[in-house]
Point group: C2
């Protein structure tokens, strides 16, 4: 297993003729913002273009995008963008890419194309789309793409085999191997096997559940728990799930129908996506079962409400119900089912929602107390099947943090992939496949691009560092107005603090110290607002550190008049 | 089940003669800062006095204390403080209480007293301690206390039966019912049964795992996994655990001995606590097995290092190893075992540590991939045993968030406690037991007391709100100096922003707008620095909201000279 730390790698030399270059701009060492750029013969193919959601050490950030700098000067060489499936971490950044060049052809399965079109519409962008389906082969510039059905927690997901002169790459996208999926559309191992027979040089494999032993249960296996909960509930049932999880919603609708309950969708994205899924035939809704949630008052308790907010997102329907500021009032005897994963980092928000719903008298069922969720990703056992069927020459684990990538590489190695052929890399690291031989050849700059309100990429690490200090410690600003000729203080020190201490009298003692320090500095010939403001900073910084054992941000301003 | 929301309750009237009043000042609706005040005959008994660790919406806070206001004027009436066991969430706030009255007698088991004494020493406080042990009966003022052995994730934990004229209360503290504990000291159900026979009027019960079905496995059951991992490792083994979990450490030492590995403790609290535990006979250390971690270079790889940091705490040993800034360098082939729980909210920190250790080449074993942890709290099945043995008249679930309290109450009700006799309350709610009848009689003010550096209780909710805004959005401060006579701007607008945008040129366009708005306001007769600063606030606030869709904190300062 070859681990490649970024800092030791230089800029790669020019790609040799007939070679294939692979660069991930996101999705490696993180779960989110998946984006891989393939290059051959001067042309670029992009696979996926997703967003990453911020962690607690990235405060105030709305979204994190892949860093497009590597391809920015070469956008005209892009022959296509292929989307493996319709999840945010694979399609969420597409509108931002299309802002830079609007006519990149976007390839995907019918559902994926419907979802990206709806998303682009919200951004007032009309993408140039090309529907493809499993079994299709399509020449996209110098790349021959072959699409392969895979099963995931959203319908119509595709893997892609990329046939080039340099060799064949198989890129799974997200997948699992549910052998009895609701729609009968299994991960196409027969095609994986045929590709393996023909020779897969490089295998890019979803690592999300590589550190989970065994097999991911079938989606069907949550039906008994759903059924038990809904059967035993006399009052309303509220089910929160991801708004793209069509099969999960299908099972909830089927169970509702079984118990003669009417169903309503709640939450903008849930309503929008389920309309798309029903119109396209992915979701089967018994006629007459649906009603409009705004008319809930006209219905008795025999309803199932399907809503967003399973991760405790503050603006989503379920969190607003938990806070009592949604039109739907959760009450005594209602049952809430969180039919969803619990994404690490969301625990506090989710448990807050559960506590508040419980306080209103609801019974809350979630994956810790009933089998109401199964994962959408292949666990270690499934991955082993995959490696044994494909028998790739080289392996590049993607879609995971370091621990997932490592676990995935170890599975590949167990299956017989030579240790030195399993690459654990980072975003920006360049792998060249030349004549069926893969090698790490360098690295390109690849950072985080933060979206915050209207700004894209303006928030830097240094702004985030400032935010962390401000958020933990607050700030103290000190304003002193001095006469430019004499250096005499004519107003101030005016001290303002936020997030530090409410008590203004606290600063009385340091005000005199600042005056004294400034007067002494001026007497010693220190001048200029910058120099004098440093005197202020040292004085108040020292005082607050020694006396209060705190390190708020200090903002000294000396103004000359 | 009677749920008592705080806001609807008034101040309770005076406690009737012969009555017992119970007020929790912490630990209800939260996991942490446990503290319950009992009053009878004009005297107060306190059970536990712990700290709560802050959540992500309480940025920069070091600790949260119980609110002592309810007892502050009555500290001289306190006849004793009984500590059920030595965990931080039960003893961490004792030094802060003793600062207010230093000679409160502190009761606890020998280990608990040793741990609180060590903690107080760090605060330069010498507490007045009284060792008690299971089976003891002790008159503490008008309270007759009877101490009962319970099993928990720290040795020597005690429950307490409080016998008063009003009736008997049984307060479990934290406990589980391991039937084969390492030290053979089981939760004393025979005494629970006898107390039940005599009549337990009110039962205060640990709720932490009430929503976990079944039974908590025995501590012994992690031994096979520890053994397997250590047996299969050729290089060093690093085990992270809580520094008070003597039995966990005992098992690690025993396994190390089995495999002829030497053992070292790492981390201040681990070294301190294990010294205490060994000296007192709670920890059995085979002679010659221990070495000083500072001399690690003199040993080969056949070592087991036992350290702190299992929750990803940034300053603890394991996190520093993960960041590469600890003297111990984790390397290829080392194995790290997180023999610990994963406290909700710590996931991101812990997974960051796991990723970094994996990146260094270590194999990381944790509760998600091996049975290297069992909980310290009784699960639903155990609680049911308890209720059936004690058969209390009233139940007051403690030590839990709302979802845990509710689950615990439901178990009591299943066992036959009348629904209206199971109280789900909040901190500050007052329950009176009079002549064996319990009733909620009111509420007293009870807030959060934040410790931040040297300050205790100075940080308010409003400061925290400011910190949240600053942390998410940053701030913009605008300074304008005007001539007091004419209102003419003589310096500024001087604009400083942090955590917002690094680009100063951004503000060029709004500077003119501010000047214009101020000049217009002065012309209209607006004067005074406060009024004018509001003009500045509105101008820049409007600009940043409309143009940037952001809401940073605005700090306008108008200075007159």
């Amino acid at each position: 297993m070859t681990q490649h730390p970024h800092p030791n790698l230089g800029t790669p030399s020019k790609l040799v003729d007939g070679g294939l270059r692979i660069v991930a701009l996101g999705g490696i060492s993180e779960i989110g913002r998946n984006m891989t750029v393939y290059e051959t013969n001067g042309k670029l193919l992009i696979v996926d273009c997703g967003v990453l959601f911020p962690e607690d050490n990235q405060p105030g950030i709305d979204l994190i995008l892949p860093d497009f700098s590597y391809i920015r000067d070469r956008l005209n060489d892009v022959v296509g963008l292929f989307l493996t499936h319709g999840h945010e971490d694979h399609i969420g950044a597409v509108p931002y890419l299309l802002r830079e060049r609007g006519d990149i052809p976007v390839y995907g399965s019918p559902l994926t194309i419907a979802l990206i079109s709806a998303k682009c519409k919200e951004h007032r962008i009309s993408p140039l789309t090309r529907e493809v389906t499993e079994g299709n082969r399509e020449d996209v510039g110098p790349f021959e793409l072959e699409f392969v059905a895979v099963n995931h927690s959203i319908p119509d997901a595709l893997a892609v085999a990329i046939h080039t002169k340099a060799g064949t790459v198989l890129h799974t996208g997200d997948f699992k191997m549910d052998q009895l999926p609701l729609d009968g559309r299994i991960t196409d191992l027969r095609t994986f096997a045929r590709l393996g027979e023909e020779g897969v040089d490089l295998f890019l494999v979803d690592s999300t559940n590589a550190d989970v032993p065994g097999f991911t249960p079938s989606e069907r296996e949550i039906m008994p728990a759903l059924n038990r909960v809904i059967a035993s509930t006399k009052r309303r049932v509220i089910v929160a799930s991801f708004s793209s999880h069509v099969h999960r919603v299908q099972q909830v609708i089927d169970t509702a129908a079984l118990h003669n309950r009417r169903v309503a969708f709640i939450g903008r994205s849930m309503i929008r996506n389920m309309k798309i899924a029903e119109d396209m035939g992915y979701l089967n809704v018994p006629s007459g079962i649906l009603f409009d949630a705004r008319e809930l008052d006209n219905y008795d308790d025999r309803v199932v409400l399907i809503c967003t907010g399973s991760q405790g997102e503050p603006m989503a329907a379920l969190s607003r119900m938990a806070n009592g500021d949604h039109q739907i009032r959760v009450g005594d005897g209602d049952t809430v089912i969180l039919a969803s994963s619990l994404i690490p980092g969301n625990e506090n928000s989710v448990f807050r929602v559960i506590n508040e719903l419980t306080r209103f008298g609801a019974k809350v069922v979630h994956k810790a107390n009933a089998m109401v969720h199964v994962s959408g990703h292949a666990a270690a056992g499934e991955l082993l099947y995959c490696y044994n069927i494909v028998k790739p020459k080289y392996v590049l684990p993607v879609h995971g943090e370091w621990r997932h990538l490592k676990a995935n590489a170890e599975i590949a190695i167990q299956s017989g992939v030579p240790r030195e052929n399993a690459f654990i890399i980072e975003n920006g690291i360049v792998v060249d496949l030349v004549n069926h031989e893969a090698e790490v050849v360098g690295a390109v700059p690849c950072g985080f691009v933060y979206v915050d309100g209207q700004s894209i990429g303006d928030i830097t690490e240094s702004s985030l560092k400032d935010r962390r200090i401000l958020g933990e410690e607050g700030f103290i600003s000190v304003i002193v107005v001095i006469e430019s000729q004499t250096g005499k203080i004519v107003a101030g020190p005016d001290i303002h603090a936020r997030g530090f201490n409410e008590d203004e009298a606290l600063f009385d003692e340091v005000r005199g110290q600042i005056e004294k320090a400034l007067t002494a500095a001026v007497a010693e010939g220190v001048n200029g607002t910058h120099q004098l403001s440093q005197v202020v900073r040292r004085t108040i910084g020292g005082w607050v550190g020694q006396k209060h054992r705190r390190r708020p941000m200090i903002v000294p301003v000396v103004v000359e008049v």
